[in-house]
């Protein structure tokens, strides 16, 4: 008989049943919870890893999603400098390491290959055989003449690789024939900054885009070439109705479509425009006099003369120039010929436009200039860079948040590995110069070499290097991670030069135009198949971690360089260290990075990034130098990984930290406001070549397309063959219709491509992108170069256009 509880009215049986029911319900709930936890979709990736985009110098942080040892997803890194924004190329990076061999079985270099010169065919070889051949050919050439060999690298190599190549060639082989793609890209910006501030690399940062009110974008199609940064500019523009985007471009490009003001100038006339803007600033009382008096000086170059008044000559037989200081009044007088009313017609715009833009530039609460190849790839590239900085200095639009001249970088690690580590023919690491005896002596001491080891003469810059190959002076060339056979100007000429030399190409893809000319192809690891440090536009270093094994027998470029160094050392053609240790003793990325960091902190460097330890790089989403110690976090009074802005309070390299501003790169701490007179363009329209050709990029393809053309989505979005964009009025005059094949011819060469009729380029201007090897536009492009930076003039070539026998190709 069940006992009734007086208090509850339940008997024991009912009570127990109740308990069981509650317990059952609880168990059901908990069980459901457990099942649901197990059922939550884990997303596309099993693990996510911090990384850096492989492509341009915007240096976007990406999150790399992995599953089953494969990259399955890419996201923009919200914690990185790009704040989560990446472009379509970056968003499809997940297929990069499999496209070309896992994808369609073609293109990826998997084993070393050696070309039979007689038949032109390549055969597979072992690493031992290939490297023995390379070392023997280099040894033989070096034995005859140490300058008969050269290295041609790129801003796509990791910092450790570029540094090691530079040390091997300049310290070990004792040749300064070290150059690379940055000569075609950033050299004018680098020399421009150095001439003004005494040291290379921008002082500003991307954060300035959030704070600027006027965006002066010149010679840069940021909407497609630096899209994540341009998204940032668009957001800043939307947030502040007073802000203005000013775009200077001879083509109404994608960026110009967003502009408040588009100056549709004639190609190559940027320098004249900037001189005219400076004229307005000086004559309309827009100069920040207090800033200029405290921190700047006016300078120009004049012909140097001997004591007897005869012109002084350089050892090369050129008239020697010397720098002289000016007063502001003298400077204003020199700019008199550039009054807008005088020059506007030549520039191709109205004088009022020049005045309006100069006033906006000077009066805004913050003006940021962004530029790339439209300015740099010019025979006046350095001068134009100087004048851009001059505009900022004259108007005080510098060294404050939102105001800076910010040169956007083309290649991912040009601003880091190449410029910082000095892998150009005139440089040594961290802003030291080949020609400077003190700098050479310091580098020799740091590399443990006998005094006098480093050759004091300049090495050959890019164009001189390929011309020396043409003349047979350079016999062996090592090309790493770049594609000069498609990217050099006057391309056919330098392809023939490469065929004359013993060409070794370390490359991830064996079907690149350069690999097709190689005597030896060395299969290289790609992106996250190796580890190391990358720089980018705003002095930020970021770590790329290794997440995949290289396919086949591919090796990292660092491994290839270390192997070559060991073989050349064994062959007795490398200089010996004083201690007797191997010159290239750092053999892993971490060891090399530690050596680079230490060197950055020594006497003649102001690049100090010793505080960027490997552990810190693993942890943080990029660090900006200067960063002298691991504890260095503050910039401008705020917590910051490194230093956001240079030459102003918060920069640890300032000799007097109480100062607001100090241009410490110059001995007198004064930045130089240069006068750079206009000189006529090497290529102007003529009767034979009446049209000006200018070149550039498209959104979906990067550089010569070696990587991006393998992505089916990107390829589908790009026209193949690449098109020749022709102004609709010019096309009408030639009776050319959209899609007709046209021949573009210059004094350097010719190429055929389908016409794309457009109102984008000015009348008298045509445009072509250089990503397509099938439409080799660089064969037509001029190889005239800047006298200071030696950067070639890709942007202004006089050409003729004519229909190709009425043949029409279907639009892809």
């Amino acid at each position: 008989m069940a006992e009734k509880s007086a208090a509850s009215g339940f008997n024991r049986r009912e009570f127990l049943m109740g308990l069981a029911a509650v317990g059952g319900a609880g168990a059901l709930g908990a069980g459901t919870w457990g099942v649901l936890e197990a059922m939550v979709p884990q997303g596309i990736a099993a693990t996510w890893h911090k990384g850096v985009c492989r492509y341009c110098g915007n240096g976007c942080g990406v999150l790399i999603g992995m599953r089953d040892k494969k990259v399955v997803a890419i996201r923009g890194d919200f914690k990185a400098t790009n704040k989560g924004f990446i472009c379509i190329k970056g968003a499809l990076l997940n297929a990069l390491n499999t496209a070309g061999y896992g994808g369609n079985g073609e293109g990826r270099a998997l084993t070393p290959k050696i070309r039979d010169k007689k038949t032109g065919t390549v055969r597979e070889a072992s690493w031992e055989e290939a490297m023995s051949l390379v070392a023997e050919r280099f040894r033989a050439a070096i034995t005859k003449n140490k300058d008969a060999v050269a290295f041609y690298g790129s801003g796509q190599l990791l910092t450790e690789e570029t540094y090691t190549a530079n040390k091997l060639f300049k310290g070990g082989i004792r040749t300064n024939n070290v150059d690379g793609n940055p000569r075609l890209c950033m050299a004018s910006a680098a020399v421009g900054y150095t001439q003004v501030f005494g040291k290379d690399e921008p002082m500003g940062c991307y954060e300035d885009m959030d704070k600027a009110e006027v965006f002066f974008i010149t010679g840069a199609n940021m909407a497609i070439a630096h899209q994540p940064s341009f998204e940032r500019i668009k957001l800043a523009r939307q947030a502040n109705p007073k802000s203005k985007i000013i775009v200077v471009d001879p083509r109404r490009c994608e960026t110009a479509e967003y502009a408040d003001i588009h100056l549709h100038i004639r190609p190559g006339y940027d320098l004249m425009l900037l001189n005219s803007m400076a004229h307005v600033v000086l004559n309309d009382n827009l100069v920040d006099r207090a800033f200029v008096d405290a921190h700047c000086k006016f300078v120009r170059m004049v012909p140097d003369v001997n004591e007897d008044g005869s012109p002084k000559m350089t050892p090369q037989g050129q008239p020697a120039m010397k720098e002289v200081s000016l007063s502001m009044d003298e400077y204003r007088g020199l700019l008199d010929p550039y009054a807008p009313e005088v020059v506007a017609e030549r520039i191709g715009i109205a004088p009022e436009q020049i005045r309006e833009v100069a006033h906006l530039f000077a009066k805004s609460k913050g003006t940021i200039s962004c530029w790339t190849m439209g300015i740099n790839q010019s025979s006046r590239g350095t001068a134009t860079n100087n004048m851009l900085s001059a505009m900022h200095l004259l108007t005080g639009q510098i060294c404050k948040p939102g105001a800076t001249p910010l040169s956007m970088t083309g290649q991912p690690n040009a601003c880091g590995g190449v410029r910082d580590c000095g892998a150009l023919s005139h440089l040594l690491p961290h802003g030291r110069l080949v020609m400077n005896e003190k700098h050479r002596a310091e580098v020799e001491r740091l590399w443990d070499l006998e005094p006098g080891t480093i050759t004091p003469a300049l090495g050959k810059h890019t164009i001189a290097m390929y011309r020396a190959m043409e003349a047979g002076e350079i016999e062996c060339l090592l090309v790493m991670c770049t594609n000069p056979a498609q990217s050099l100007p006057a391309g056919e000429r330098y392809r023939r030069a490469m065929e004359k030399a013993f060409l070794v190409v370390a490359e991830a893809f064996e079907d690149s135009e350069t690999a097709k000319l190689a005597d030896v192809i060395l299969p290289a690891a790609l992106w996250i198949e190796k580890e190391g440090v990358m720089g980018q536009t705003e002095r930020r270093y970021q770590l790329v971690e290794k997440l995949l094994e290289p396919p086949g027998e591919a090796r990292s470029d660092l491994q290839i360089l270390v192997d070559l160094a060991e073989r050349l050392d064994e062959a007795g053609v490398l200089s010996k260290t004083q201690s007797g240790a191997a010159l290239i003793s750092a053999k892993t990325p971490r060891e090399v990075w530690n050596e680079v960091r230490r060197m950055s902190a020594q006497e003649n460097s102001v690049y100090n990034y010793e505080g960027m330890t490997w552990e810190r790089m693993q942890k943080e989403h990029g660090i900006q130098w200067p960063c002298p110690s691991p504890e260095h976090p503050a910039s401008g009074g705020k917590e910051h990984p490194g230093t956001a802005r240079r030459y102003m309070k918060g920069d640890p390299m300032m000799s007097d930290p109480t100062q607001d501003i100090e241009f410490y790169g110059q001995p007198d701490k004064r930045a130089k406001i240069w006068f750079r007179p206009w000189s006529n363009l090497p290529q102007e329209p003529s009767e034979k070549f009446p049209i000006i050709l200018t070149t550039g990029r498209i959104l979906e393809q990067w550089h010569t397309g070696t990587m991006t053309q393998r992505m089916p989505e990107l390829k589908a979005a790009s026209p193949y063959p690449a098109t020749i964009e022709i102004n609709i009025q010019d096309a009408h005059a030639m009776n050319v219709k959209d899609g007709d094949m046209v021949i573009v011819e210059s004094q350097f060469g010719q190429v055929q491509g389908p016409a794309k009729l457009s109102t984008g380029p000015r009348k008298g201007v045509c445009f072509a992108a250089f990503y397509d090897p099938g439409m080799f536009i660089n064969a037509v492009v001029s190889d005239a170069f800047d006298p200071f930076s030696f950067e070639p003039e890709f942007k202004v070539t006089a050409v003729s256009l004519k229909p190709a026998d009425g043949s029409v190709v279907p639009r892809s």
């Binding site: 709930g29 919870w33 649901l36 059922m39 939550v40 979709p41 884990q42 997303g43 596309i44 990736a45 099993a46 693990t47 996510w48 890893h49 999150l63 399955v72 997803a73 890419i74 996201r75 923009g76 919200f78 914690k79 704040k83 989560g84 924004f85 990446i86 472009c87 379509i88 970056g90 968003a91 499809l92 997940n94 959030d210 704070k211 899209q227 998204e231 957001l235 939307q238 947030a239 502040n240 109705p241 007073k242 609460k365 060294c399 404050k400 948040p401 942890k619 401008g636 009074g637 802005r645 102003m648 309070k649 918060g650 607001d660 501003i661 959104l699 979906e700 989505e713 990107l714 979005a717």
Partner: protein
């Protein structure tokens, strides 16, 4: 038992409670579409604050430090007023700057949060139920998966088995974006959208890659390794 009694019993013990339960559930399901419902949970609060351009405490956001002089030190920052239309000038200690007549210095507000959520909100692109409009899988007509997630979150919330900051499991379905944007002329005129139509449709490539973070403190993937 008479039929009347049976009906009363049925209505009283079955129909009414079930009806009330259904109505209450519907009310709850509908109620959670409101922004306030999302904001009432403190782990979601930051996202609502960001959408409304408020700071971490729900106060107005500082505006661009226009008063910053050379050297990067700001003598004053501007803070939004609660109405979201004007800003008050404050000194570095947060004290409101007064003009010569001892009135608060006010200027028009210029800068808001630039996250996608804040832009959709501040531009009035979505009239109401702003959270729900971009996260359409919950609510009464939502998927069973979302119901399951809701149950899971409730269990974790009640038992306190969660850590902050909360992290994101699974992935965001691009169709939440494409249902509004996918057919627009502006969308269709961008060649890249066609080039990556498939990875967009399967959410393998996120819309946020090119268009930026949805929230200022955008959740990071669970397995992300520092």
């Amino acid at each position: 038992m008479t039929t009347t009694k049976l009906i009363f019993t049925f209505v009283g013990f079955v129909a009414l409670p079930l009806g009330a339960m259904a109505l209450a559930s519907y009310q709850v399901f509908e109620g959670v579409k409101e922004v306030e419902a999302c904001g009432s949970c403190h782990v979601m609060q930051s996202k609502v604050f960001d959408m409304k351009s408020l700071d971490a405490e729900g106060n107005p956001l500082p505006v661009q430090d226009e008063e910053c002089k050379r050297g990067g030190e700001c003598k004053a920052v501007k803070l939004l007023d609660k109405d979201g239309k004007t800003v008050k000038l404050r000194d570095r200690n947060g004290k409101v700057v007064k003009d010569k007549d001892d009135q608060d210095v006010e200027v028009e507000m210029l800068v808001k949060s630039r996250s996608l959520a804040a832009r959709h909100y501040s531009k009035g692109w979505i009239a109401d139920k702003q959270c729900y409009n971009c996260h359409t899988d919950y609510s009464f007509a939502g998927s069973m998966k979302a119901k399951g997630d809701g149950f899971r979150h409730l269990a974790r919330y009640i038992t306190g088995r969660y850590e902050e900051p909360i992290v994101f499991r699974g992935y965001y379905d691009n169709n939440n974006c494409l249902k509004c944007h996918g057919e627009t002329e502006k969308y269709l005129l961008v060649p890249s959208h066609h080039a990556i139509a498939e990875p967009l449709a399967t959410s393998q490539t996120s819309c946020l890659n090119c268009h930026g973070p949805a929230h200022a403190d955008h959740p990071i993937p669970l397995s992300y390794q520092e």
